[in-house]
């Protein structure tokens, strides 16, 4: 029941926000915040209850009700350790996304929060749907509001970015739909039973050729979302044009749905075919790591820079998943969480800087530390996290992945670890350009961009364009930094939660 409540609260909260637009504009934000916090509480309670994961092959929550009986489509949601930790991430970042938008969004506020909450509802649904049709349904539900977030509240080039985002992901999604249909009919041919249920389809036997094509349909959808290298080109555009909360959700959660899909569906349904392509997938992952890092190094746009670091970090996920080692799987789960947090934090910070300076160009920044030491310090923390400094969660994640992958393919793993060196390079360069060096920004920004009231945020420093964090911003960033440090120091609870899931994945994929 908890799961239904979570999804329903997001949906209903979104509708309420939209309706509240006609009543009171302040109310909207509070409704959104209450919905998000309520869900965080619900997920937290669920985590407290189920934190030790489940017995192998068992599910923590399993809820089914008929949806469209004519086509054997069921509303089937279930929770296991993997879903649980991802839900925790979703609820956590959901609250922060609402907080991030508090001052940034000034127009069409109700519709904005409607889209924000529906995206979160879609993401939650994706993480718990166990009926393949339902999964596809939620997959789309999270894309459409996201499209609106980018297309309406995005930056100057938003139209192009939103098209690209939507068409890329939709193309992948439709191919996945065809694959789902193929599974549906092959299963019927084998067992005489029409079903989209993941539990039942798990036992399907496929010929090698069939499996290959069907898996490809799924895989394309997920690697576009991930994104792996040849399909990554939507990501920098979408990330850089989206509003702050949009980037936060995109980087923190939407990319994770791709990783989740690969773990949950691709390697579970098609173990044999996955083994076939494992080497190639790892190669693609490593190419992503290196290529993303190199492009990140060359960026001048702060948000594009963060976007390319995501490409690089997501390469680790492919590398880890397709090495089929317990440690690597653990690392992948950790990577999903920590990347969500650290990149989310970086995007939030980019948004805050943009609120102050009205630019994303790193060339126009520099020397910001003097103006806002608090943010500078926190930025340093997240830059260190991103480059994989021990004590941060990212270090654990990448270390586990590399150790796991080393057993399988040492060459690729060594190349991948060069990515860590690059990460240090680009992170430090970013810090250097944004926070250190000579101060290039004037105290007072050229007038036309600034309206009255936008400056009130900085309390005492309202005369200056550069002012340090407000209490709200500080809350956002400090909670993220606490999370990342805790994950770095005590990763064990997460690993415990997903232990059974990882075990069963290993079992499936050990020849």
């Amino acid at each position: 029941m908890t799961l239904i409540w979570i999804i329903a609260i997001f949906f209903a909260g979104g509708l309420l926000c939209w309706a509240a637009q006609f009543v009171n504009r302040v109310l909207i934000k509070w409704i959104a915040l209450i919905a998000a916090v309520a869900n965080l509480a619900l997920v937290g309670a669920a985590y407290a209850e189920y934190r030790n994961g489940s017995a192998p092959g068992d599910w923590l929550i399993d809820y089914t009700v008929n949806w469209i009986p004519s086509f054997a489509i069921k509303f089937h949601i279930a929770l296991d350790g993997l879903s649980l930790v991802l839900l925790l991430l979703t609820a956590f970042l959901g609250v922060l996304a609402v907080l991030c938008s508090w001052k940034e969004i000034k127009e069409r506020v109700g519709f904005y929060y409607f889209n924000l909450l529906w995206t979160l509802a879609g993401i939650t649904g994706v993480f718990v749907a166990m009926d393949l049709f339902l999964f596809y349904f939620f997959w789309e539900v999270m894309i459409v509001p996201m499209y609106f977030l980018i297309a309406i509240w995005g930056d100057s080039n938003r139209r192009y970015a939103s098209y690209k985002f939507f068409i890329f992901t939709q193309a992948g999604g439709l191919l996945m739909l065809v694959s789902i249909l193929a599974l549906f009919f092959i299963n019927h041919a084998n067992t005489g039973n029409y079903t989209f249920d993941f539990f039942e389809l798990q036992n399907i036997t496929l010929s090698v050729a069939e499996g290959r094509w069907i898996m490809l349909g799924f895989l394309v959808a997920f690697v576009i979302k991930l994104p792996a290298v040849p399909f990554h080109s939507w990501l920098p555009d979408a990330h850089s044009e989206a509003p702050t909360a949009g980037s936060l959700i995109l980087a923190g959660l939407l990319l994770k749905t791709g990783a989740y899909g690969i773990m949950r569906f691709v390697i579970t349904l098609f173990p044999q075919n996955s083994a076939e392509i494992a080497q190639w997938a790892m190669l693609v992952g490593v190419i992503g790591i290196i290529y993303g890092a190199m492009l990140a190094f060359a960026q001048n746009d702060l948000k594009r820079f963060i976007a390319y670091t995501s490409v690089s970090h997501m390469g680790f996920i492919l590398l880890g998943v397709y090495s089929f080692r317990e440690m690597a799987f653990d690392g992948v789960v950790m990577q999903m969480l920590t990347h969500g947090i650290s990149t989310g934090a970086l995007f939030a910070m980019a948004g805050m800087i943009k609120e102050r300076l009205h630019t994303r160009e790193m060339g126009n920044m520099g020397g910001l530390w003097t103006g806002m030491p608090l943010m500078g310090g926190l930025a340093l923390l997240f830059a260190m996290a991103s480059l994989g400094l021990p004590m941060m969660g990212n270090f654990i994640a990448e270390f586990l992945i590399l150790v796991g992958a080393y057993e399988v393919n040492p060459t690729l793993t060594i190349i991948a670890s060069i990515g860590l060196v690059f990460a240090a390079l680009y992170s430090l360069r970013m810090m250097q350009r944004v926070f250190f060096g000579p101060r290039t920004t004037p105290d007072r920004h050229p007038e036309p961009f600034l309206r009255q009231g936008e400056l009130r945020e900085g309390s005492a420093h309202s005369a200056s364009a550069v002012y340090d964090l407000s209490a709200r911003e500080f809350t956002i960033l400090i909670s993220l930094s606490v999370a990342i440090v805790i994950l770095g120091l005590f990763p064990q609870p997460v690993l415990d939660s997903v232990n059974t899931v990882v075990q069963s994945l290993i079992q499936k994929n050990t020849p």
Binding site: R108, V144, I167, L174, L177, L181, F184, F185
Partner: protein, 479 residues
Amino acid sequence: MSNEQLLALLPFMVLAGASIVVILMIAARLSHTAIQVAGFLMLCFTVLAMGYVRDILPQEILPLFIIDGFAALYTGVIIFSVGVVGLLSYIYFEEREENPKEYYILLFLATLGAAVLTISRHFVSLFLGLEILSVSLYALIAYLRNRNNAIESGLKYLILAALTSAFLLLGMALFYMETGSMEFNAIGQKLAGSDPGVLFKLGLALMVVAIGFKLALVPFHLWAADVYQGAPAPVTAFIATASKVGVFAVLMRFSLAVNLQQSEFLLNVFSGIAIASMILGNILALRQQNIKRLLAYSSIAHLGYLIVAFLPGTREGIEASVFYLFAYAITILSAFGIVTILSTRMKDAEDLSVYRGLFWRKPLLAAVLAVSLFSLAGIPLTAGFFAKFIVLLTGANYNLWLPVIVLVLTSVIGLYYYLRIISTLFASAPAAEPRHKPLHPFFHFVTYATLFVLMVMICVLGVFPGPAIEGIRQFLMIR
């Protein structure tokens, strides 16, 4: 003819009566409003009559008609579409013509033609239905006679449709030569096992051309964009829905009777047509700036999708096609409803610039349009998604992988131009234009309410299609 048979024809007689009632009302110089209301009531009576005769179905009225669940479903979709078109017409024509009344005669006649198509099982009734439909359409398309566009598109449609009618007739004549019969079932029996001659094949080809023309399938689609653009917006909505439903119904019935899908060759021809329509329709729509033309090309693509459901020639196929047509009708009617409402006295709202920033000026209208465009694009939560899904399901079930893959890929192309309109809707608004007061507040309200109901229907069908599908299945049992 027995009493029961006569009774079974009741809905169609009411429909025929509707145009006569309108003629009489015009003779009695009643107002436009009265005619509108009476017309709407007559449509309601038709629906009631259909419910009333449901229990005695199926009835076969030899040799021309058969009234069964199949016919009832398609007729239902037609009546539904015409009901909405009728409601939309009031405001549109009240502002334009000094004499909008005769429009309703033509509209109901065209409806009768389309409805007759769904029950025909004989070449004569097919031809009569088709011609009642097309002749009324000639006049409907050119109804706003002071606009050059209207006359141009009317004449274009007239010449091409008359030409294809001649093709259809020649095809029928050649069928008749081969089989000595004009009944669908008798033709099917005669053809079974025999190897038809070259003239018969010519006849078949001619009929495919004629049907392809009426459904605006590639390569017989050339009229579609011009006619959609030139015709008054409600008439365009009618062409896009009711007339296509009727023609598709008769195509389905004929192909089932003669086992058209058994022939490997014909199957390839139709899948070729479907694939060509999907690809070309979507590609031609990409660069359109005129929303009516854009919807014309998108309708070509959608009919291509529909043909994928036609290919298996089974009950699942019929089911899928009915659901698809119903979803498509709701969707396209709400899209054209918006075009109708936004049209001004001088010009239809066809230019994309009219829609710029609509969401911030008229949120309800924009929301309806956005939902219908999402539905056309096949995004979940809308009826269009489910329609497409069922078609995919049917296609995949019968291993029609090539059309299925083409359907999926072309849908992605289609996304682009639907998104273009949607992002125009949400673009920042230009300076608000002066608002003029609605002339007829009541009908404005009714139109808005209709559009809102359509939007809700799209969403409900998109989330809970189960009951609708069950209903369709039950009706299809009546045979």
